[in-house]
């Protein structure tokens, strides 16, 4: 009796010796530049005037909101036109905590983020039942509900809105330092956080899901759970942007807190810059920010051009600017792909 030893290793063909390359030269340069930019943002009080800080803060809010929309639409397949619901909710939470309950506003801004996180749970439970395009309009209804509830609540001073008078207790320098740190933190969390997330194993699952949800589920990706996580994270990210923005404005009222303009801005930035890429968000935000400064005076006709550009991108250039660039040159600033490199001696 001879027994054949079962050794699967000897029967299986030898796996090629490969290395997984995840970082590139352009990625390393961009990483250094990104960290320098975050430090520069934090150090704004020492190099920028108050007016500049205000402008940079606005730009940071665009980037943050657009990146959250990008995570939702570009990766999770959840197209939302109602993220302003969470921006307004966090803004109001900040005002109530700081103004009504006397919590330190710079502490309150972080506690306020619990509100969008908690509100996003029931919203998602309801909305995820809606099919593709209907999900989008559903998020709009939720934002309208938030706005109407805020306009009817005496506790939030109804339609008249609230002022953040407690900010008078801080000097201009103190406020500038706080705003600069908040800008730096917002960019670090939304851009850096997304980058970290996309490079983690969740990111791998997310990219698989974006390409084909059914196939990803068959490979063991928990698609509903991943979508839920992204939705909550995006609500908190938008909440942070909303709270910072309304803190800078010092006033909040329902139409400005739940302004649908944010959805327009996020969609324009992500679609024109290039969906499903962090680079696209940065490019799109800069374009929108500069266009808004230069052409904002033309009012309605400027928005006609923005709308037509969005239609054009959706019809003819779905990758946006970054999509066109990355097709030609492989110079990703935030590389998230895993390249398999054959070891030199094995190269066929």
């Amino acid at each position: 009796m001879t027994s054949v030893p079962l050794s699967p290793v000897s029967h299986a063909p030898a796996l090629p010796q490969v290395m997984v390359r995840r970082q590139t030269a352009s990625g390393r340069i961009a990483m250094v530049l990104f960290l320098l930019a975050v430090v520069a943002l934090a150090a704004m009080p020492w190099w920028a005037k108050t007016g500049t800080i205000r402008m940079v803060l606005e730009l940071c809010c665009y980037i943050a909101v657009a990146q959250m929309w990008n995570m939702l639409a570009g990766y999770a397949g959840l197209v939302s036109v109602g993220q302003q619901a969470f921006m307004g909710a966090a803004g109001y939470a900040l005002f109530v905590l700081a103004q009504t309950f006397g919590v330190n506003p710079f502490l309150a801004i972080f506690i306020a983020l619990l509100v969008p996180a908690f509100l996003a749970v029931p919203c998602y439970m309801l909305l995820h039942r809606l099919d593709g395009p209907y999900f989008a309009i559903g998020t709009w209804v939720v934002a309208e509900v938030f706005r109407l509830v805020a306009s009817n609540m005496g506790f939030l001073n109804a339609g008249a809105g609230m002022s953040l008078n407690v900010m008078k207790e801080y000097s201009l320098l103190e406020r500038n330092i706080a705003m600069s740190l908040l800008c730096a933190l917002m960019i670090l969390l939304t851009i850096g956080g997304s980058y970290w997330f996309l490079r983690s194993r969740y990111g791998l699952a997310l990219i698989a899901m974006r390409d084909n949800p059914v196939a990803a589920a068959s490979q063991g990706v928990n698609v509903p759970r991943l979508r839920f996580m992204i939705y909550i994270a995006a609500a908190v990210g938008c909440g942070l942007a909303g709270a910072v923005y309304s803190m800078a404005q010092l006033r909040i009222n329902p139409p400005s807190a739940f302004d649908p303009m944010w959805a327009n801005v996020a969609i324009f930035i992500v679609m024109v810059g290039g969906i499903a890429s962090i680079e696209g968000v940065l490019i799109g935000s800069l374009i929108y920010f500069i266009a808004d400064r230069w052409f904002g005076q033309y009012g309605a006709s400027y928005f006609v051009v923005l709308g037509v550009m969005t239609v054009f991108v959706a019809l003819y250039a779905r990758g946006g600017i970054w999509g066109a660039v990355s097709k030609r040159w492989d110079v990703h600033w935030f590389p998230i792909r895993r390249h398999l490199i054959y070891k030199t001696e094995e190269r066929p």
Binding site: V79, R129, P133, N152, A300, F303, G307
Partner: protein, 285 residues
């Protein structure tokens, strides 16, 4: 009596919403597309109608005769120029394209007609009323409801009985199988959108007779149409009609409770339906 009155007013209001919801139900049923500029098209057609009435001195029904063919042409053009390029499994391109169109249309209207609210002079019919059972109801809202019922009935009959209706249903069930049997899906889609926007021609006349219209009003109309379709259950024409009634009644009762609560009541009923019966009142599981 007060609540009975609210119920009647709600049904009449529902007649208005049904005219928006029919086209949306048809487009989603056939192409799985939501046209975000649906509400803006109503406003655009209303404003064109108001301008026509004031420059040629036309009455509301002459305006309607001019507006409906224009709306049909607009729908056909929309499908040919934009929607045929974005129809597909991925909902993103069609949403983004129609969203961009909505922003462009809204601001274009703002540029042409300014932000002022306008309405269509009805030559007296907007203020006439008739007495039914102990309560007075406006003649115009009753006409709106009659038109809405007629349109729903006609659309349902067309889908069930005509050759075109069969082609439409075949294309919505399985576009590839339909193509194999000789149906030109793109042509069917173009006709479906033409009908959907054509119905908005009627809605535009009634909307501008009933109340005022301003360029920024489109978003609200889109939301009402959407809520009616979801409440009623997707993919059914009569479902959209009943959904509109439910939405109208919820809003009318909400307005009786508190004027600031009316629209919110409609949204809350929508969310309630989504929570307890996500397939809609008439939807199949």
């Amino acid at each position: 009596m007060q609540w009975f009155d609210a119920l009647i007013q709600g049904i009449l209001l529902g007649g208005m919403y049904a005219q928006y919801a029919l086209g949306m139900a048809l487009m989603f049923g056939v192409m799985r597309i939501v046209n975000v500029s649906h509400g803006d098209l109503v406003i655009l057609l209303s404003l064109i109608g108001i301008s026509l009435a004031s420059s040629f001195g036309w009455g509301p029904f002459t305006v309607m005769v001019a507006l409906v063919p224009l709306a049909i042409a607009l729908g056909w053009l929309l499908q040919k120029a934009v929607l045929n390029k974005v129809v597909g499994d991925d909902p993103l391109p069609s949403l983004i394209a129609t969203f961009g169109l909505s922003i462009a249309l809204q601001n274009m209207m703002l540029q042409i007609w300014s932000a002022n609210s306008r309405s269509l002079p009805g030559g007296g019919i907007e203020s006439q009323s008739i007495q039914i059972g102990g309560i007075y109801v406006g003649l115009l809202p009753v006409m709106v409801l009659v038109f809405a019922t007629g349109l729903t009935w006609g659309l349902d009959l067309m889908l069930k009985r005509t050759r075109f209706g069969r082609a439409l249903r075949a294309a919505s069930a399985d576009v590839e199988a339909a193509s194999m049997t000789g149906i030109n899906a793109r042509a069917v889609y173009a006709s479906a959108t033409a009908i959907a926007v054509g119905i908005l021609g009627f809605a535009a006349v009634f909307q501008s007779l009933r109340s005022t219209v301003a360029p920024a009003d489109g978003g609200a109309q889109l939301i009402y149409a959407f809520e009616a379709v979801i409440i009623g259950g997707m993919g059914s024409v009569w479902g959209a009609f009943i959904g509109s009634m439910v939405l109208g009644i919820s809003q009318a009762i909400g307005f009786r409770i508190d004027p600031g609560f009316g629209v919110l009541a409609g949204h809350l009923v929508f969310l309630l339906v989504l929570a307890v019966r996500p397939q809609g009142l008439f939807g199949k599981v």
